[in-house]
């Protein structure tokens, strides 16, 4: 009985590893071919390159204007995420500590807004922001606040109900105002949920293509936008395209292996609630 069970586990281990290899195959194929010449890919697409050439990476790095695109992505994503965290936590705090009908209705509005798909608001959105000359980075960050705040407020609201109101009351006795209470007492306690909110927003904003493609242009382009134009330029030149794709993925993979635990926890909380 025991022996049979151990054998069963071993078979499962093997199946698991085989599946993992299948899952990794696209990344393997991308990386090995990024090191080949155009001819090298044509003659053998599956194996290792006969000799390593870094030429593709050099060219892709320059043509993608990679450092600039990386800087733009980091800038837009971090500022948007910080703004979403602070303003959503503040709003959730105000709504949770106020027991009126109005605050319940407002929370419902935020929750309902989560059901609205981006494609059904994008056309008037672009027209409105275009008419006041806000199709630029600050405009984009403001839009991310609008699209990101609903889920964030919802998550914060849930956590706030477990923070006792006596904390607020004691601080009011000591003469603190609401902003001080929020910033010095409540916001630090909310740190675990802030990590979740940050990760959930970070993932979709970093990868977002459609919204920035309608808003940004030229030197402000983020990695997905640059990648789109770069790829269009190099169709049929797979050695360059794959090197560019590899570069684009590196920051995400590093981030994943550094903060994997938080990411998985955050994704579960975001999906299940």
């Amino acid at each position: 009985m025991k022996k049979k069970k151990r054998k069963g586990i071993l078979i499962l281990e093997i199946i698991g590893v085989l599946l993992a290899l299948l899952w990794l195959a696209p990344f393997y194929l991308m990386i090995v071919n990024a090191f080949k010449t155009k001819k090298g890919i044509f003659s053998d697409v599956l194996g290792f390159p006969e000799e390593l050439t870094f030429e593709n990476f050099k060219n892709a790095f320059i043509d993608l204007d990679f450092l600039n695109a990386l800087f733009n992505s980091v800038l837009v994503t971090t500022i948007s995420v910080m703004i979403i965290i602070v303003f959503s936590a503040m709003a959730a705090y105000a709504l949770q500590r106020n027991n009126s009908k109005l605050s319940k209705t407002l929370l419902l509005v935020f929750v309902a807004a989560m059901l609205i798909p981006f494609q059904s608001v994008m056309i008037p959105l672009v027209s409105i922001f275009g008419s006041v000359d806000m199709l630029n980075r600050p405009g984009l960050i403001f839009m991310y606040l609008g699209f990101g705040c609903s889920l964030s407020i919802f998550l914060y609201h849930g956590s706030l109900s477990s923070i006792s109101k006596s904390l607020d009351e004691a601080a009011i006795m000591d003469g603190a105002n609401r902003l001080q209470i929020f910033w010095h007492i409540i916001f630090p306690i909310l740190k675990p949920i802030s990590v979740t909110v940050a990760i959930l927003n970070l993932i979709w904003i970093w990868n977002d293509y459609l919204l920035p493609s309608l808003v940004l242009s030229g030197a402000n382009e983020t990695i997905p936008l640059r990648m789109f134009y770069f790829f269009g330029q190099y169709t049929k030149q797979w050695h360059l395209a794959l090197a560019g794709l590899t570069l684009a993925i590196i920051p995400v993979i590093i981030f994943y292996f550094v903060s994997q635990k938080h990411i998985i926890k955050g994704v579960v909380e975001g999906a299940v609630k």
Binding site: L19, V45, V121, F147, N207, I249
Partner: protein, 286 residues
């Protein structure tokens, strides 16, 4: 905090302002424009339901709606099947389970646009090379017709999102009390019986959650569609989101695009409200 207090409104102003200007006003304005001949800047007259009538005579929209529906059904079935399978695998007592979870979840963090480009290479070049080597004709010419474009999109979505669905199932599977499973083993239950009568009833809520998640996520896909097939050949693999974008921003038929966006909103909202209804019903039962 009282309603009338300055701080209440101060705390809410930033999000209320952005949500209104970014989501609510465009939604209402869009609904309004869909009944006019709006061109993106101005409109001259109300034309009633004319845009909506035109939509249902628009072959590209009907095709996209049908293609998206088929795609969504295939993805929901496949994703839940693979996601649950992977979750059952990595909740067993394997030495490699942490490693496996890490690998299966990884594609999720990478944007659909970039993944679509990587897979374009695989479907076109790698499939072709393997097909030639192994003498398998069906591996050649992928993405050059509707069928392979369809399955290409399904495969890439399944590969990308299965890890996400796996994570959700894991969360529920790990909350199944171990004593219950052991008790059933003592009673001599087979693996299948254990799953069917002990584990399955306890993880049923996970089905509702992941069913609706896969449903609405697959329905709204755009990036993968753009980078993998670009809607081609001849718009045969164009999905709804892409059809709306093209109508509005490439053909410049703003009012028509907006009417399509309203239909899109109604379908997505209906899916979401069904989920809310199911959750409410479940809570009552429990």
């Amino acid at each position: 905090m009282r309603n009338k207090s300055v701080s209440f409104w101060l705390f809410l102003t930033p999000v209320l302002l952005s949500l209104s200007l970014v989501v609510i006003v465009p939604l209402l304005l869009g609904l309004f424009y869909s009944f006019t001949n709006w061109n993106g800047l101005t409109f001259t007259e109300f034309i009633g339901f004319q845009n909506y009538i035109q939509i249902f005579q628009d072959e590209s929209f009907i095709n996209a709606l049908w293609f998206t529906t088929k795609f969504t059904i295939a993805c929901v079935i496949l994703l839940n099947f693979i996601g649950l399978g992977l979750a059952l695998l990595v909740t067993r007592n394997l030495k490699t389970k942490t490693f496996l979870r890490t690998i299966f979840f990884m594609p999720n963090l990478i944007g659909g646009l970039i993944l679509g480009f990587i897979w374009q290479f695989i479907f076109i070049n790698v499939f072709d090379a393997v097909g030639k080597m192994a003498g398998q004709d069906w591996l050649m010419g992928w993405l050059s017709n509707e069928t392979t474009g369809f399955w290409g999109l399904v495969i890439i979505t399944a590969w990308q999102m299965a890890g996400y669905i796996m994570i959700i199932y894991i969360a529920y599977l790990e909350s199944v009390p171990q004593e219950l499973v052991e008790a059933s083993e003592m009673d001599g239950a087979t693996s299948f019986q254990k799953f069917r009568y002990v584990i399955f009833p306890l993880v049923r809520p996970a089905f509702t959650v992941s069913m609706f998640l896969t449903l609405s996520n697959s329905f709204k896909i755009y990036d993968q569609n753009l980078s993998l097939t670009n809607g081609g050949p001849y718009d045969s693999t164009q999905m709804l989101a892409m059809n709306i974008v093209r109508t509005a921003f490439e053909s410049n038929q703003m009012a028509l695009g907006e009417a399509k966006a309203v239909i899109f909103f109604i379908i997505v909202a209906a899916i979401a409200l069904t989920q809310v209804y199911y959750n409410k019903k479940r809570e009552v039962e429990v």
